[in-house]
């Protein structure tokens, strides 16, 4: 399976300061890849390098097997980087017409993408009269104009109200149907958790981890409600498959692999323990994120106080 985006040691330095520090990432075909990190982590700079807007100081990258920023790559990529940028004196439709002419896209495609982002009714209005949500939707329409294989969206829900965010999430999900790959950057963890298949977590220009969302969230303990708890704890402690057992607020918290759940349940039931619940304590992505970047956040707080 060829990667849609592949970066190895991608670096951007301004003077001595590395804004992006040796990032490696892989985006697979057809997935929604979340690029997660706090403001100033280097997300936008990385995405700009993948689009050829910024030249890297080091490392290599390919987009759809091509050099970032090459005509071959840009012709198959749609993007919305750091907010929608359009001509204020043109209507939404005319803005798309300019881009369609640039990209050699047939005119009828403009109607299709306006329909897709629910802007058909306002397409002839000036861009300046649009709400922020409409501007973002027009940005998405522009990104889809070339019917691209890859869509790169930088903070697409920035500044949107809850309804706008919900609409944007729906749009991103729709985009990803039909084998299209979406790379999405965000500092909103709930958003990434809801939309993305895999995430890369970035902080201070460094990639902390790259993993499936489920894998990241699923690292939690098994929660077992069993009576009597003491007997259950003793039995589980004796099991070699169980790494760790503790009783917390009347429930057992067990560190063990999912494939041993059946054995754990059988051992407990055989020992006369009543088992009423066994479930995985899936963590919120937010918890995972703060676990990974806790050191950085504390340092940032200290710096804020200086």
């Amino acid at each position: 399976m060829n990667a849609v985006v592949e970066a190895e040691g991608l670096t951007k330095r301004y003077g001595d300061h590395a804004v992006v520090d040796s990032i490696s990432l892989t985006v697979h075909p057809g997935e929604v890849y979340g690029f997660l990190g706090p403001n100033g982590a280097g997300k936008t700079t990385t995405l700009r390098m993948l689009l050829g807007l910024i030249s890297p100081s080091g490392g290599t990258a390919t987009v759809l097997g091509e050099r970032p920023g090459s005509a071959a790559a840009l012709g198959r990529t749609g993007s919305l980087i750091e907010g929608p940028s359009f001509y204020p004196y043109l209507s939404g439709r005319d803005n798309l017409r300019v881009l369609a002419t640039y990209a050699n896209v047939r005119g009828s495609r403009i109607d299709e993408v306006l329909e897709l982002v629910a802007l058909s009714a306002r397409g002839r209005d000036k861009f300046t009269t649009y709400s922020l949500g409409m501007k973002q939707r027009l940005g998405v329409a522009a990104a889809l104009l070339q019917d691209p294989e890859l869509v790169i969206l930088d903070e697409p829900t920035n500044g949107l109200d809850p309804a706008g965010m919900r609409d944007m999430r729906r749009l991103v999900r729709e985009m990803a149907t039909g084998g299209r790959t979406v790379v999405l950057s965000s500092h909103l963890m709930s958003e990434v958790q809801q939309i993305c298949d895999r995430v890369g977590v970035i902080d201070r220009g460094r990639m902390l981890t790259e993993s499936a969302v489920q894998d990241l969230r699923g690292g939690g303990e098994l929660i077992i409600s069993a009576t009597p708890a003491d007997t259950a704890r003793d039995r589980l402690t004796a099991m070699p498959e169980v790494e760790h057992v503790r009783v917390d607020e009347g429930v057992l918290r067990v560190r063990a692999d999912d494939r041993h759940i059946a054995d754990i349940t059988r051992v407990l039931v055989t020992a006369g323990v009543a088992v009423s619940e066994v479930r995985r304590d899936t963590r919120q992505l937010e918890d995972v994120f703060f676990e990974m970047t806790g050191q950085s956040i504390n340092t940032a707080k200290e710096l804020d106080h200086v």
Partner: protein, 283 residues
């Protein structure tokens, strides 16, 4: 090549719908009409000759007739219309940075060189149209004056008209390209407009005046200035013996050298703009 053609089409579409472009064209036409026709004609009708360097009313009237169409149309190009063209170039290229649309354009299929080349081509087409429109207004007004005053309506020869048109177009293109390169290098429109207008209306005149009077050592510098060469090119293509040379029109350098200098300015500006936009990050 087809990429550049597509960009040119898109840029023309934008320019035609851009209010600022029309305001600048209207201002150029208005200035040309007021200073080339309205004021001289009012002077003639008032019978006064003091206002135009002691010329007789007949000479003043003759300066507004169709025979002087080339002079009256491009006489203001070295300074006033040139400044407006510089503003257009700065707005067109620098505005892309101000609105952030440069990143939208640079993430479409055409490469940066094609984008810049297409934009310059669109600018050249718009300026050629503007020069034609200004000639058209001049033709209408001068013919109306000639008919109203029972004067001859004979126009300049076709070759003179073509020469005047080409010279006017090159002058405006040169100033617009200077505005464009400032817009690209400074990544905005406001500062290039400010710097450019101060240069066109102030610094060039200052250097020219100093070189012509107290500091002749400045003559070599004066002779490569864009405005001086623009004025010299106008001087080379208009008929001699007019009432009073318009501001900026001079004979500091000969027409051939002026033509080469202005062409060199255009080429250098385009090259610098392309080099700058290819080399620099879009942040």
């Amino acid at each position: 090549m087809s990429e550049i053609f597509r960009v040119t089409r898109a840029e023309l579409f934008k320019l035609v719908r851009r209010p600022a472009a029309w305001v600048l064209l209207a201002t150029a036409v208005l200035l040309s009409q007021v200073f080339a026709y309205l004021i001289p004609y009012l002077g003639y009708r008032g019978g006064g000759s003091d206002m135009l360097d002691g010329s007789s009313p007949e000479e003043i009237l003759a300066s507004t007739l169709p025979a002087q169409l080339v002079t009256n149309t491009i006489g203001g190009f070295p300074v006033f219309a040139g400044a407006l063209a510089l503003v257009l170039g700065a707005l067109m290229f620098g505005g892309e940075y101000g609105w952030g649309t440069i990143k939208t354009l640079f993430t479409q299929r055409p490469g940066r060189v094609s984008v810049l080349a297409g934009q310059v081509a669109a600018l050249a087409v718009v300026l050629a149209s503007s020069v034609a429109i200004m000639f058209g207004f001049g033709a209408i007004t001068s013919t109306a004056i000639a008919v109203g005053e029972n004067e001859p309506t004979a126009w300049p020869g076709v070759l003179d008209l073509l020469q005047g048109f080409a010279a006017g177009w090159l002058i405006l293109l040169m100033w617009a390209c200077l505005g464009a390169v400032l817009g690209v290098v400074l990544r905005g429109a406001a500062l290039p407009i400010g710097l450019g207008v101060v240069w066109v209306l102030g610094i060039e005149n200052l250097i020219s005046a100093m070189a012509g009077s107290m500091l002749s050592a400045l003559e070599p510098l004066r002779d490569v200035l864009p405005g001086v060469n623009a004025g010299s090119l106008v001087s080379a293509v208009i008929p001699p013996g007019m009432v009073e040379a318009p501001p900026g029109v001079s004979t500091s350098v000969d027409g051939g050298r002026a033509l080469i200098t202005l062409t060199a300015y255009v080429l250098v500006c385009v090259a610098v703009a392309i080099w700058s936009s290819r080399r620099r990050d879009v942040v």
